[in-house]
Every structure is written in C-alpha cells, then in structure tokens.
C-alpha cells in the first residue's frame, strides 16, 4: 500500500525535471474554426513521441505552433520550463524535419547541413566542417557531401534532412510525416533506422503521422488526436488494448462491435464445434475468406445480422462462404470503452 501511494508522488516530483516540452491548453483558431483546441501534453527528455490522427485533425498545426511557424490563439508552449511565446522559429531550441524534407535544391548535402551552423555566429569554419562531417556520418551519408538533393535517393534525402536538423542539437526534433514521402518498402526500413538514430542521439522526437502502424511501432508514447483535441495519451499497448474511446479503438486497428463489446479481429476465434472450454460463443455464417499472406481474413455474419471479422492464422481451419461457425473470444480481450460516442 505504501509504495503504490508514494510512487505517483515521486513521479510527480521528477516530472518537472524530466519534461522537455510542455503544451498547456494550446489553442489555435482560424477565424472561428478551432484547428487545435486546448491541447495539454508533456514530452520527456529522450522520448520518441508520436502524435497521430486522421488528416485535418490539427496535428500539423500543433507541430507548426511548436516550431514557431504559427502563433497560438491562446495557451502556452514551454521548452525546458521556459515559455517560447513570441519567439521566432530559430530562437527556439527545436528543429523541424519537413514532410518533403525542404532541402535546398541549389545546395549540396554538406551545404544544406552547414546552413544552420553558418547562421550561428560563434562557430568557425573548421568547427562547422567537423560538425557537418559528424552529422553526415551519424546518418550514414558520408561520401555524399557533394551531391545535390536531386542526385540522392528518397531515403538519403530524409537522412540529409535529419542531419541538417540534428547538427543544431535541438532539445526536441519535430518530424512532420517524415516517412510519408517514401515508398512502402523503404518506409519500413527507415522506420527502424529512425528509431535507432533517435536512441543514439538521445534527443526527444515529436513525430506526427496519420499512419497508426508507424505510430504504434515507433513511439515510446503516443497521443491520438481528433478534431483538434487529444483523445488519449499513453504507450502504444495501452492505447491499442485499452482505448478510452471508440475513435481511438477504431483509429488504431480493426474493431468488431458485438453486443456493446469491442473485439479486435485478431482476438476473435472461430471453430466448427462449440468451444470446449466453456467460453460463451455465438453462431455465425462465413461470408468470405481472404488470404492475406500471413493470415486469413474471415468475414462472418452473426445470427443477429451483425458482421464480425476474424483474423486467423494460416494453419487454422479452411473456411468457405456459407459454412457455419462458432465465434468466440477471451473476455479479457474485450475492449472496455468508457464513453460510447
């Protein structure tokens, strides 16, 4: 009992020290329409944080507010406990990696990376050269210094953009859909690279994406955003397994809504016989079965007409449309959603 009450109190004490970026009731209104509506959020030092939501949910605006490209209507942004209100983008210890990287097309990779350093008056030329070399080595772009952005691949462009921002050693790196410009195969590879890079440099990454898989796989913690507000904040597992709203549950993955309970397709079990373990089961008819490579996607229709999708392993029973099956799941796999909107 003692520990359980002391720990949160301790955590509260450390929070101030450990927080690198804090948003307090951040709001941005365009005319009357609120793009960002009272967001409060803190991000820890060295954390990989994903802000995920459908397009138009306000995540890009949030990032632009933090970056300093837009002024908030109300609310505050605190970097290391200090308000950054009214300061220009370059006066803030944050740096942005833009969606299409925004590399300067007329400059070489090395000149792009040096651009920010050259604006800092206290650095000498040899110092700049060393820092550029180090940054390019960090993102494995050594040897491409003299290339122009159009002479390197998409993945290399992304790494050049990362180097250009990281070389300034920001407290928080803001990434605006950094993987969306890449083709799907490269995207998965860059995901791993991005994560390992973040671990090496130890800088907090605030990453926005509309791709829930990306957010789930990359982030230490994530926030789901909808209509300018935060729906839920937590680790990927918390959000996926204990979504607080229908929106979060459905945004992060497939959900079957059966008699008020939510069940993820991969938790749904199908069997031809009544399950022997005494679990409560429902009878259903198979509508279709689609082979997806790593699993089968089976659409069933329950007796009450509700559709229920199951994702079952390849070695599961071969099911054909019209077959009648028993649908069941472990009660612990049910999503408990407080607010039913």
């Amino acid at each position: 009992m003692g520990f359980s009450s002391v720990l949160p109190a301790l955590a509260l004490c450390f929070q101030e020290v450990n927080t690198v970026l804090e948003l307090r009731a951040l709001t941005k209104r365009y005319l009357t329409h609120p793009a960002v509506n009272g967001i409060s959020l803190s991000i820890d030092r060295g954390e990989f944080f994903a802000l995920v939501g459908p397009s138009g949910c306000g995540k890009t605006t949030t990032l632009r507010l933090i970056g300093g490209f837009e002024e908030p209507t109300s609310g505050g942004i605190f970097l290391d406990g200090r308000s950054v209100a009214g300061s220009r983008p370059y006066q803030r210890d944050v740096s942005t990696v833009f969606q299409n990287y925004a590399l300067f097309p007329h400059l070489t990779v090395a000149q792009n990376v040096a651009f920010g350093l050259e604006r800092r008056k206290h650095l000498t030329k040899p110092e700049i050269r060393t820092k550029v070399e180090q940054a390019l080595a960090l993102v494995q772009l050594s040897g491409k210094e003299g290339r122009r952005p159009d002479q390197i691949s998409g993945g290399e462009r992304q790494r050049a953009a990362l180097a250009r921002s990281l070389v300034l050693e920001p407290k928080v790196l803001l990434l605006d859909e950094p993987l969306s410009a890449l083709d799907p195969k490269l995207r998965k590879q860059m995901r791993t690279e991005l994560k390992s890079l973040q671990r090496r440099v130890g800088i907090a990454f605030l990453f926005i994406t509309h791709d829930q898989e990306e957010a789930l796989s990359l982030s230490d913690r994530m926030a789901v955003m909808n209509r300018g507000a935060l729906e839920q904040v937590g680790t990927a597992r918390e959000l996926y397994q204990q979504p607080r709203s229908r929106f979060v549950a459905e945004f992060l993955g497939g959900v079957n809504w059966v008699n008020g309970a939510g069940v993820r397709p991969e938790a749904v079990r199908l069997s031809r016989q009544q399950p022997g373990n005494g679990a409560h089961s429902l009878t259903a008819t198979v509508q279709s079965s689609t082979f997806l490579g790593n699993c089968f996607h089976v659409e069933t229709r329950l007796a009450n007409g509700v559709c229920c999708t199951a994702e079952i392993a390849q070695n599961g029973c071969e099911l054909a449309p019209g077959d009648s099956v028993h649908v069941w799941w472990n009660p612990s796999d049910e999503l408990r959603i407080a607010d039913q909107d």
Binding site: G67, G68, F69, R88, P89, Y90, S95, T96, F98, Q99, N100, A102, L103, F104, P105, H106, F115, G116, R119, R120, R164, S165, L168
Partner: protein, 288 residues
C-alpha cells in the same frame, strides 16, 4: 519511365512528317528574317545614294564611322539607359512578383492587373505620360497651384523621363517571368530557412534569389533587349534630346538619308544584344 526524347526514333515517315511541320515556320523565318538580315548587311557595306538608297562601291566605311565619338556616345547612352531601366524594373518587379506568387487565390486577378496596361496602345499611354509630365502638365500645375515650385520642374524631355517611360512600359515583362519562377518556390523552403536561423534577409539572399535566378535572367533579358533598341519612348519622352540607337537608326533612314550607316547601326545593335545573350548564356549554364 523513360525520358528519352521521341525525336530519337528516326523512321523515314517521322523524318518526313517532321519536315512537313517544321517547313512553314522555317520558311517564314528564312524569307522574312534571315534574307532581310542579309540585305541589311549588304546595304551596310555599300555607299549612300544621293537621295537615300544605296549604290556601289562596296566599303566598310559606315562601320568605322560608328566608332566616332558622337555615335559612341549614343551607343554608350543606350546601354546605360537600358541597364538602369532594367535594374529599376528588377527592384520594383521582384517584390511585386513575390507578393503575387504568395497571394493565394488572388494571384490570377493580380496577374491580370499587371497585364492590364497592354489593353491600351503603348503610344497612347506614352502620350498620357507626356501630358502628366510636361511643363503645363498635371504634376507641374498641381505643384504650382500649392506653391511648392515657382518654375515648372523639368520632368519631360530628358534621360530621366526616358527611363521612367521604359520602366513603366517594360515592368510587366519583368514581373511575369519572375512570378513564374517564384511561384514554383516551395514555401517549406522558407520555413526551413527560418527554422535553421536565417533572417528574412538571409533567406532572400541564400534561398529565394538563387532559386529564382532563371526568372531573374529571363526578366532582365525581356526588359533589357527591347529597352536597348527602344525608339518610341526616347523619341517622345526624350523629345529628341536623349537619342538612343533606335532613334539613330530611324534617323539615318529618314532625315539623314544615309542607309548604309543606318544599316550598320542596326546590325551593331543586334550584335550588342547577341553579346548580352551570349554572356548570360555562358553564366546560365551553371544556373540550372
């Protein structure tokens, strides 16, 4: 996807088709541009006739006369006035083009406004300027009416008036190519520059200007070349006192009746333009 140009495929049918479509244009250019150019060149190498026209013997005397101090001055003045006008057009046109390129859904309206003057004859617009600027014009009478000046200001019939007229006439030719290149500039590049610590001035100098070089070069050419050969504006706004090469050429064919010399001056003007194009072309290679 292949970027090989289709002209690489040289089947006989294609070659004939291509000749068929190119021939009319080439014939017009050849007949009405290249042949007359040869005639002009021939005229420039002949001797003047007593009442205009040309006659033998062949001589290069017209060319040597061009470099007389009097004509050299006219040449120098032409280059100087054209350069100053181009520079002013660039200074005025660049911010305007940048503003239009960044003005979202209003940009087509603004572009049309830039082109609006073309709806009226250039001659009429030049006369309008003269009515504004002359001693008894709107500006001078207004200044006198409020007792700001006693004598009318010499606003017309000088180099300044010529430059004003040229800038007024050719500003749209500067704005349009500048707009075209600035419009392609990704606004995220400006955000990135600011994010990396560039002041607006540095961003302009390090990002916007280098990336709009093609538009700047195109705009300067489109203004400089017609300004260099301008004839109407110096004639009307300069009142015959600010003579440029264009006026010299016209003069030789009309009042002076020295066709060989007029032809030589016209060719020299062309040589100047080619020289400018060549110089810019050489520098332009590393622009793209």
């Amino acid at each position: 996807m292949s970027y090989e140009s289709p002209t690489r495929i040289n089947s006989p049918v294609r070659i004939r088709l291509r000749a068929f479509f190119i021939a009319p244009g080439a014939a017009v250019m050849g007949l009405f541009f290249f042949v007359p150019l040869l005639i002009v060149f021939a005229y420039s190498m002949l001797t003047r006739g007593p009442y205009g026209g040309v006659m033998p013997p062949w001589t290069a005397e017209s060319y040597s006369r061009i470099f007389d101090s009097l004509y050299g001055e006219i040449l120098w003045r032409s280059v100087w006035i054209a350069s100053v006008s181009t520079a002013i057009c660039l200074l005025l046109g660049f911010p305007l083009a940048l503003y239009i390129a960044r003005s979202g859904r209003h940009k087509f309206l603004l572009l049309n406004l830039v082109m609006l003057p073309f709806w009226t004859s250039f001659l009429i617009r030049t006369y309008a300027w003269m009515f504004l600027l002359r001693d008894t014009g709107l500006i001078n009478s207004a200044l006198e009416a409020v007792h700001l000046v006693r004598q009318p200001l010499p606003l017309l019939f000088n180099s300044g008036a010529v430059i004003l007229g040229l800038v007024y006439g050719y500003l749209p030719f500067m704005v349009l190519p500048l707009y075209a290149s600035l419009e392609k500039l990704d606004p995220a590049l400006l955000d990135a520059a600011e994010d990396l610590g560039a002041s607006p001035w540095v961003a302009l100098h390090r990002v916007v200007l280098p990336l709009s070089k093609a538009g700047i070069v195109a705009g300067c050419l489109l203004v400089f070349i017609p300004c260099l050969g301008a004839y109407l504006t110096p004639d009307l706004m300069g009142g015959g006192k600010t003579v440029m090469v264009g006026n010299l050429v016209q003069n030789q064919f009309t009042t002076a009746r020295d066709w060989p010399f007029g032809a030589a001056a016209a060719l020299l003007l062309m040589a100047l333009v080619v020289l400018v194009l060549w110089a810019l072309g050489r520098r332009g290679e590393d622009l793209v």
